[in-house]
Symmetry: C2
Subunit: 343 residues, 2 copies
DNA sequence: AGCGCGTTGGAGAGCGCTCTCCCGCCATGC
DNA sequence: GCATGGCGGGAGAGCGCTCTCCAACGCGCT
């Protein structure tokens, strides 16, 4: 066990050359079925496992990819950045989708955080060292400098959402405007007449799209003005925003809230103000995250196929890694309405 | 950029040998300061980054470790295992602690899930291939076969909690009984007289310890019988357990709930039954997770220094990796009481 | 029979790095 | 004066693998 067997050992055991064993393992070229069988048995007998370092030294491929969670420039103080990020169930779904695609291929993501300039530099250096063949990147904020750095370093990378500035990099995204329209159509169909919305942080493109998509759809239904309070995607901000909405617009009968976590925060506030959900006020969330089912009542929401998108992101990355000439692509997923009890 | 510079290139640029450059980079032996300076400049000029594959081929060290999240044997159906795990904020704190320790050392964890026998085999094979020097492992269930597999394969590993069966492997854990005692003391000090508890799944050692620790402490205060309903650490199970507790023991004035997530589920149930928290019923959770602050009212809870524990786990692993002769150790952390509004 | 071609296996050259030797130099001791 | 030893540097042998050559061989064709 101390000295693990090498190709040479297997070759000797099977009575063939190193090259032949290598060919059997990698399934390259034709090898006589009889010999193949002998080799396989020798591999099993010796308990051989290929040494990845040696392999990647010659193939110049590591068979690993980085899963980078990137924030904007602010250094977070007491509460570490990573801890917050993980608390968001959204991230779990991304990881799950990425792992779901990668694991059958025997590859596992390297988890990295890039919230500061130093950390970003570390990510780049790490990739350049050949620790991973590329990166999938999920930014928690727009204005993230990392995508640009990756492109400049010619490192294969795929983003989770459309980058703020147009740079030549592949990404997957969801049709935010279409999702917001689904919410608007549903609220109107339910008979809501005085509708408001709680948006995400408006420096994030996704938030803007959800808001403008919602407003446009409502305008098409004949409601040109939709009040909006801005949140920041956290539970606490959902509470605060709902509180403000109720005080500024007491008569509302429907709210579209830009993510489920904020909606989860908003529900108790509504209840506390004596509004029944969905009786008095209908609530539609966004994401179909675990917060949607954890809320009481469970949320009607816009389903974001996050796992599928994450898997596609991994697929795109692998395509870029396999063929660096691969053109930059973006894939947009269509959201769908999930009706539960809140609207 | 296409062909990245090698040691040889740097050596040529600096007018020295490969060995000297290597010595400068690894800070080994004495190198003339003047030459050192020349070499450093050459490194900067060429934009050299050491190739990790080549290095680990000779050092037989990868400078990577695996962060394995391991469940028991059940194959989860529709909803992927990983997705659920990540939804638990506890996991985020572990990841955060591990990253906090590892990142300054330039190493990043490889994320792996091991929920099925196949996945476990993959983890072992992956480590044996030399993709990582060792593993830190957090199990979501006891009876996890992976620790034993790791020990059998002589792979360096550290666990997050004490293994179910006693096997020679290092771990970190929290003093569950001491934490439960803190909760008991606090409830009694508040004046609670009819106290009950909601436990975690009783096949998990931690749940047993929290329950028995709580009962023992209450007994010491003169309350020999404490009703208990078993949950499974999810929000939904907290709701159900609270519901049952209220129907079976209507007069309770204090509850110790074995984790914050279940407590978060229990609070709305109490409210719905007309019980004010903490006025009518005091609630104490466990973990001090993000669920504690997200709950309304915020939870009084037992703080589990998860990040510190995770960091320590990483430290222990590195010690084992650096010196395989390192004795097996366990480090137990003391929990503390965090008083918020629920008790 | 002789030729070319496709197929299968072996030999061996590295991939980029570390690390053990070894050598030359200068300061030191008798 | 010469042996001694420490120190700074170079040479070169691999680490375990892949992959390009090349040799050997069987086959169908002229």
């Amino acid at each position: 066990m101390s000295a693990s067997p090498t190709l040479e050992d297997v070759a000797r055991a099977a009575g063939v050359s190193r090259a032949t064993v290598s060919r059997v393992i990698n399934g390259i070229r034709n090898v006589d079925p009889t010999i193949q069988e002998t080799v396989r048995r020798a591999i099993a007998d010796t308990g051989y496992v290929p040494n990845r370092a040696a392999r990647s030294l010659v193939t110049r491929r590591t068979g690993a990819i980085a899963l980078v969670v990137s924030g904007a420039g602010e250094e977070s103080g007491e509460n570490p950045f990573h801890s917050q990020v993980f608390a968001d169930p959204f991230f779990g779904r991304v990881a799950s989708g990425v792992v779901g695609f990668l694991r059958p291929r025997g590859i596992h993501p390297i988890l990295m955080f890039a919230e500061t300039a130093e950390a970003r530099a570390q990510v780049i250096a790490y990739l350049r060292q050949g620790n991973a063949d590329g990166a999938v990147l999920v930014s928690t904020q727009s204005e993230d400098p990392l995508p640009r750095l990756l492109v400049d370093a010619a490192l294969p990378a795929v983003l989770f959402a459309r980058p703020a500035e147009p740079i030549p990099i592949s990404y997957v995204d969801v049709a935010h405007r279409a999702g917001a329209k689904l919410a608007a159509d549903h609220l109107v169909a339910r008979g809501c007449r005085r509708v408001a919305t709680i948006s995400g942080p408006l420096d994030v493109a996704a938030s803007q799209d959800r808001l403008s998509g919602f407003r446009d759809a409502m305008a098409a239904h004949g409601y040109p003005y939709i009040p909006c309070v801005e949140g920041n995607f956290t539970l606490g901000s959902g509470e605060a925003a709902m509180e403000r909405l109720l005080s500024e617009h007491p008569g509302i009968d429907g709210v579209f809230i830009a993510n489920d976590l904020m909606a989860q925060g908003a529900l108790p506030v509504l209840r506390h103000h004596g509004c029944r959900v969905p009786g008095d006020v209908a609530v539609v969330g966004f994401d179909d995250s675990s917060a949607a089912t954890a809320s009481r009542p469970p949320l009607t929401t816009i389903r974001h196929p996050v796992e599928d998108m994450a898997a596609e992101m991994a697929r795109l990355l692998m395509a870029h890694v396999d063929d660096p000439g691969q053109p930059v692509t973006s894939i947009i997923f269509e959201p769908s309405l999930v009706v539960r009890d809140s609207a």
